[in-house]
């Protein structure tokens, strides 16, 4: 709880400093006041926890993000190719896929990663299954092979 509050404070302070760009005393004091107000409101709303400030993921997330960027670029090229090839070349597919993550956080990260790569969209997330619509049947087979699932599970621990 305490570390989450400190992390929230630093996030908000960075946001203020980058957005304002003024360094006079008055502006900095106003910034401090608004940060304290926001932290008070957020504590009253009771949302300062490991879900809004996921600092326990910090040590593993960067390698996952690099892999995700590579995957996004790869699937972008495929979708662009099929846009120019036309309607005959696509095979839209709808499929339920089982997820192996235990926590809500892991499930949401997995569903959002599917969403971020073009060509696949998560339509629904029920218990431990996601409904995925894909532009190509090959994309579904790639997801069923489970590379992304395995990496998110590694992230979760």
């Amino acid at each position: 709880m305490k570390t989450h509050t400190i992390s929230l404070f630093f996030t908000l302070a960075t946001f203020w400093l980058l957005n304002s760009g003024h360094n006079t005393l008055l502006i900095l004091l106003l910034g401090l006041a608004s940060i304290c107000l926001v932290i008070a409101i957020v504590h009253r709303m009771d949302v300062v926890d490991h879900e809004s400030q996921p600092i326990h993921l910090t040590q593993n997330i960067f390698s996952y993000l690099l892999w995700l960027i590579k995957e996004v670029i790869h699937s972008n090229i495929i979708v662009i190719k099929h846009i120019w090839l036309g309607n005959k070349s696509i095979s839209p597919t709808l499929r339920r896929i089982r997820v192996s993550q235990k926590t809500d956080m892991g499930k949401v990260i997995y569903a959002n990663s599917i969403n971020l790569t073009p060509g696949t969209v998560t339509i629904d997330l029920i218990d431990d299954e996601v409904v995925v619509h894909a532009l190509l049947q090959k994309d579904i087979e790639t997801l069923l092979a489970g590379e992304m699932d395995r990496r998110v599970s590694l992230l979760e621990r």
Partner: protein, 109 residues
């Protein structure tokens, strides 16, 4: 040094423009709503990303650079959320996608 940043910025801008126009063609060309959503996904992720990275090469100071990074992060967070919400509400309101194999529909219902 100055020329290198200019040229790499220009290359990023050209790639981004090409991706955005391709996404625009895709949204006109694809047959139904769910496939059009994938075309919008292209312009939301790599199209916007490439144009913003190209602008980062041109940025005069650190504050401008950090604001461009902020816009990039916002775009990457907002794009998937919006497409998921759209797809979910379309599915719950009875708009079924056109599929290649018909037997898949039974499995999801």
């Amino acid at each position: 040094m100055d020329m290198i940043t200019n040229i790499s910025g220009a290359v990023c801008l050209i790639i981004g423009s090409f991706l955005c126009i391709s996404g625009g063609i895709g949204i006109l060309r694809f047959p139904d709503f769910y496939t059009r959503m994938h075309a919008v996904g292209v312009t939301d992720t790599l199209g916007a990303g490439m144009i913003l990275i190209g602008l980062m090469f041109y940025s005069p100071d650190f504050l401008t650079f950090s604001k461009l990074v902020m816009i990039l992060l916002l775009t990457l967070l907002i794009g998937p959320t919006t497409s998921h919400v759209l797809a979910k509400s379309a599915m719950y309101n009875g708009l079924m996608p056109e599929l290649k194999q018909k037997d898949n529909v039974k499995e999801t219902n």
